[in-house]
């Protein structure tokens, strides 16, 4: 093989401008949307929205949704859907609560057990989809109900008839792993910021923002890891290939079944991670946790440039899509608008994103 790595320039081709190149990136829509939404709130919302505490205020729910959306985006790029992730949050929350409260497990055991339980359900989802060849939409719709029902029945069994399991906070008190999944990170740093007068403080001298919400760190880590996997590893290539054309990928030696099942497991584990964070934060687990979150996560992924048909999209796009979400949900409370406009926004954004993605797809594939 020749080491000549500089491709000859074809004189028939015009230099492609930076903008034309950027137009082909899947996350373009999400970035543009984020800019638009930011501008909108810059003009309509109370100034306190974009202070440090205001920013963390909307980033926190954005990050919680984002943890689900990153999983959903990876799975969508791999060509499948998972409608059961919202119910999975409740189910994993129940497993986690039962481990911690009813069985007195330390977090070092409870967290792996919860992730394993979620992963198992995810692999069952994936296995059924692969074996039957049915659309994942239908299979996971069934699990949407099965898992929600199991959470309700299970919690009642664990608590003498209540659909809420309390006492998580007491049970994990002093556990060395708890700070990794709850509260705020970099507390010392923020105290130091406050002392140095870099950030706002209360009269007592404690900072108004005690630290970075832990879910935001997890969200960023997941988004970076997912992007790295998609763009810079062979597995990333397999995910795109499995979603683009499973048959062609399998004929080229891509282990499509393994990739898809692994993606179902990953998505379920994302939901379980969110459940752990939420349960530790609230100190209790509830059978209604994650209600309808599957739709929001899929919408965030679509806003982020994922095609419903698979094979195209990005984790960074889903990252921005989730932030748009958090911004609008919380941002509306800073404005004079009725908060229920959120739903209207949701639908409109989805519609725009799908139309936009479709146009981008035609551009990329050169369809006319």
């Amino acid at each position: 093989m020749s080491e000549d790595a500089t491709p000859a320039v074809d004189e028939r081709l015009k230099e492609e401008s930076v903008i034309a190149h950027a137009m082909k990136r899947p996350e373009l829509g999400a970035v543009a949307g984020l800019i638009l939404v930011t501008l909108f709130f810059a003009f309509t919302a109370d100034g306190s929205m974009f202070t440090l505490s205001g920013t963390f205020n909307f980033l926190s729910p954005g990050a919680q949704l984002g943890i689900l959306a990153i999983g959903a985006a990876m799975l969508m790029i791999g060509g499948e859907f998972d409608l059961s992730i919202g119910s999975m949050v409740a189910f994993a929350g129940m497993v986690f609560g039962a481990c911690v409260v009813n069985m007195d497990m330390p977090l070092a055991l409870a967290i792996p057990v919860t992730l394993a339980a979620a992963g198992l359900v995810g692999s069952v989802n994936g296995y059924i989809v692969i074996r039957t060849g049915l659309p994942s939409f239908i299979v996971t719709l069934a699990f949407l109900f099965i898992l929600r029902g199991l959470s309700l029945v299970g919690l009642k069994g664990l608590t003498d008839g209540s659909t809420q399991l309390r006492g998580v906070r007491d049970a994990v008190e002093g556990d060395a792993l708890a700070p990794l999944f709850s509260g705020d990170a970099f507390g010392d740093l923020f105290t130091w910021f406050a002392k140095s007068g870099l950030i706002d403080t209360f009269k007592s001298g404690t900072p108004k923002v005690p630290g970075v919400p832990i879910e935001l760190l997890w969200f960023i880590i997941l988004a970076l890891a997912a992007t790295y996997i998609l763009l810079r590893t062979p597995i990333g290539n397999w995910i795109f290939a499995a979603g683009g054309d499973a048959n062609a990928a399998a004929n080229s030696g891509v282990p499509v079944r393994k990739v898809k099942i692994a993606l179902f497991v990953f998505t379920a584990c994302c939901a379980a991670l969110l459940a752990i964070i939420q349960v530790l934060d609230a100190g209790s687990t509830d059978a209604r946790r994650g209600f309808q979150k599957e739709f929001e996560a899929i919408i965030a992924a679509v806003i982020g440039g994922c095609l419903l048909t698979g094979g195209y999209g990005s984790a960074i796009g889903a990252f921005f899509g989730s932030i748009i979400f958090g911004m609008v949900v919380i941002g509306l409370t800073y404005t004079t608008f009725d908060q229920d406009w959120f739903q209207v926004f949701l639908g409109t954004m989805l519609l725009l994103a799908v139309v936009f993605n479709n146009a981008i797809r035609k551009r990329v594939t050169g369809e006319r």
Binding site: P7, A8, R232, N237, A249, V364, T365
Partner: protein, 259 residues
């Protein structure tokens, strides 16, 4: 010409009560283009799927470089050196040429957790290989969807050869192409053959087969009707064998040999 790279003997394949292949024997030698001809439904597709590890034969033996082998998966076949370019080309239009070129066989650098897709190398190789086949890409990240049918075919062939194919199976590579693109693909086949690769050319177009074929095997209703070398058989005879010697003879006159 040397010993056969791959030999298949008495291959049968049953799907439930359907007998798709009822005893097919076939071999390919290095540097030759062996044409597998047959009408629709003759079993060409099933046969190449057996050869490429997609299906397991119900009966029959397969030898690769003299040793008996069984291919459990397409990957096994590929690792042995049997590469197949299916009609769908195993190309994904939304993905870039580079990502398609290395799909399933990505070059990596780094170790353990840091083992990653060597994108720079992959880009350089794919652009270079395309140039050798006479195609200038806009860039390695150009989506395959923007290439013409002939160019896609060439990408698929270049990919197979790059990954060390000893046997290259082409499933009707010219069936959906225009005249110029067809001749480009036939020229590519000739280049590949000169590198010592054994080419299996599946077609029902006798003219295309005659243009590049060294040997011709006709498949009819799941059985081989025999193998002939170039020069020993005429296009008309091949045509007749493919049709099983029926009806076509009457049509021949009115169509004036245009089939």
């Amino acid at each position: 010409m040397g010993d056969p790279i791959i030999e298949l003997d008495g291959i049968e394949k049953h799907f439930g009560n359907v007998i798709a292949l009822a005893g097919v024997s076939f071999d390919v030698r290095p540097g030759e283009c062996h044409c597998l001809l047959g009408d629709n439904g003759a079993g060409k597709s099933t046969f190449i799927k057996v050869m490429s590890g997609v299906h397991k034969p119900s009966h029959g033996t397969m030898r690769f470089e003299g040793k008996p082998v069984t291919f459990d998966t397409p990957r096994d076949a590929m690792e042995a050196g049997v590469a197949t370019v299916f009609q769908d080309l195993a190309m994904i239009p939304l993905m870039s040429v580079t990502r398609n070129f290395f799909m399933g066989r990505e070059p990596t650098k780094g170790k353990g957790l840091f083992k990653r897709f060597d994108v720079a190398k992959a880009n350089a190789v794919s652009v270079q290989k395309m140039r050798e086949m006479g195609i200038s890409l806009r860039g390695p990240d150009q989506a395959v969807g923007t290439l013409s049918g002939g160019e896609r075919q060439t990408v698929a062939i270049a990919r197979a050869v790059h990954f060390g194919a000893k046997i290259l199976i082409l499933d009707e590579p010219t069936s959906a192409l225009g005249v110029r693109q067809t001749s480009n693909v036939l020229a590519t086949i000739d280049k590949v053959r000169k590198q010592g690769v054994g080419v299996v050319f599946i077609s029902h177009n006798v003219r295309h087969a005659m243009a590049v074929g060294d040997r011709f095997t006709v498949l009819c209703r799941g059985k081989t009707l025999g193998t002939a070398s170039r020069g020993d058989i005429s296009a008309d005879e091949l045509q007749e064998m493919m049709a099983g010697g029926q009806e076509l003879a009457e049509l021949e006159g009115s169509l004036g040999g245009t089939i």
